[in-house]
């Protein structure tokens, strides 16, 4: 199994296509950081303007806030980059004809499929670490540290700077689970195809469909919304909601709705387990005709 995982990782990281995602992330984050560095103050002023008479002391546009802005935008697009790899893992091999060679080797199909999935997990983790490095560490270096000021739909959150870092750590861990869920969808679909275009497009279509269904304010769709993985993918933002006491004062080091976060993680994990198990089952039954 370890041998197979090494082989899969070797194949992934020897392909030039793999690095497109890393370059794309770097370019996107750099552009956002550049924009915020040049015009960030205007953006912050505009944000405060909508609050009316509100006096803020300290550095509003700091590295933590930039990271939050970047993540809000990036975590919509990173699933696409992960899908490019996960949806190609089986179908891509079928397309170039190496799947039959691989499946004729003295390893069980379960080992081969699971090692491929583990490889995509490693790839996703590395991509997320790269995002974290650029979005958080580089932003902190460029914009400095201060308290995190966030404007949510119905309220404002102010988190002390010494209470921010662990929240980002948890948010990135959560994002990892969410991205692996998307990867599982692409991985599952790739078991049925003989080129990677179909699974990639279908995975993106599923994400768009589920997102639309989850946001449509109609009772019929709201009933299924809690079961859609896209509904739970945005739960990472809840790591930036604090509990408040009776005097409406924020309590440092707390999370407002930890059970809901755990619930989302469980739903996502169920998706992962079901989809990967289904992929193994399909591949064990499948006649390799490519």
């Amino acid at each position: 199994m370890w041998q197979l995982l090494q082989i899969e990782l070797y194949k992934i990281f020897r392909r030039p296509r793999t690095y497109i995602a890393f370059v794309a992330v770097a370019v996107l984050i750099t552009i956002m950081q550049f924009g915020l560095k040049v015009d960030g103050q205007e953006y912050a002023d505009f944000m405060l303007q909508s609050l009316g008479n509100f006096d803020v002391q300290g550095k509003l546009l700091n590295g933590y806030m930039v990271c939050y802005i970047v993540l809000q935008l990036m975590l919509v697009h990173v699933p696409l980059l992960v899908t490019l790899i996960s949806a190609d893992l089986i179908s891509g091999e079928a397309n170039i004809g190496t799947l039959r060679l691989l499946m004729a080797k003295p390893y069980s199909r379960t080992s081969i499929v699971v090692s491929k999935f583990c490889a995509v997990c490693v790839y996703t983790l590395l991509l997320l670490i790269w995002v974290a490095f650029l979005a958080l560490f580089v932003s902190v270096v460029i914009f400095g540290k201060s308290d995190l000021f966030l404007m949510k739909n119905e309220y404002i959150v102010l988190i002390r700077q010494d209470d921010v870092f662990w929240r980002y750590g948890c948010a990135f861990c959560f994002a990892f689970v969410a991205l692996i869920t998307v990867a599982s969808v692409g991985f599952f679909l790739s078991a049925f195809a003989e080129n990677s275009i179909g699974p990639i497009v279908t995975t993106m279509s599923v994400i768009i469909l589920f997102t639309v269904l989850g946001t449509l304010n109609l009772p019929v769709f709201q009933a299924i919304s809690p079961y859609l993985f896209t509904t739970h993918m945005v739960t990472w933002k809840e790591f930036f909601d604090e509990k408040v006491n009776a005097n409406n004062e924020a309590l440092a080091g707390t999370l407002q709705n930890l059970p809901h976060i755990i619930h989302s993680v469980i739903i996502l994990l169920i998706y992962i387990v079901v989809l990967v198990s289904a992929t193994v089952w399909v591949m064990k039954k499948k006649d390799i005709l490519s």
């Binding site: 082989i7 194949k11 004809g97 190496t98 039959r100 060679l101 080797k105 003295p106 006649d287 390799i288």
Partner: protein, 311 residues
Amino acid sequence: MQQVVQVTNLSKHYKNIKAVDALSFTVNEGDVYGFLGQNGAGKSTTIRMLLTLIEPTQGDIKMFGLKLNQHRKTILQSVGAIIEKPDVYKYLSAYNNLNLFARMSGIHPTEKKLMQQLEMVGLKERAHDTVKTFSQGMKQRLGIAIALIHDPRLIILDEPTNGLDPQGIADVRNLILHLSREMKKTLVVSSHLLNEMEQVATRLLIIDKGKKLVEGTTAELFDPAQTLLELDSLNNTEALLLLQNSAWQTALQPQRSNSLLLKIHRNAIPNLHVWLVQQNIKIVSLQSRHSLEDYFLQVTSSGQHVAAFTN
């Protein structure tokens, strides 16, 4: 002699299509087992079942005396294969592809061993070039190196000469002979190129529409009394007249081209040669026609399922 492959009553059905139908055959150690059939006859399906790529609908496969469905891992460690096209990772070099597939086969070859293997198939000079720059023939040779890197006892080559130029076909033929005669490997080689198979195979199986037509050694499949002889001379009209008025008259066959055709016993060919010279016929060529091709066309088009030849 040990049976390396023993297939019993093997079938594969896709809905109403019988791709392979109750096929049984045996490959002995040291055989170059030619697996012949027209396109769509069921050769590739059978080979994929031998490699566990396709699940049989029914039947039993044993290799090295072990049941394939129970000892898959052990058996596949001793099998090397090229399945149709020699597809490898085009973004990797020949060396890296070979190393990768060696590890997939459970071995960790040294650099020296890898280079030796590439040298054997004539790719040493291109070892570190990416495969996307390779010709079809070079990819085929790399495929063969990959099939052999873990020193398998049984080598399965499915249409190994597909897409190759004449030189490439000759190279593959020589390699098969080398593997069989020098390295004492057992080979199963599928092809629809009859003359190629005749030159390398020690035993042949002809299948059609998924069913076995005949199985046996090359010698067993041909009746020497029915050897077809093609005669070409400087004056074929004169030669024809002489033959029609001689004892060879009954051997004459309908002409398919400008040459004359005779069906005679193989042993009678020298006598005919002498007689023609005595009649002052200026012979340009006298050669026995490819009997396997005729035989193959005869058995596959007649639809008769001839009982298997046995030793």
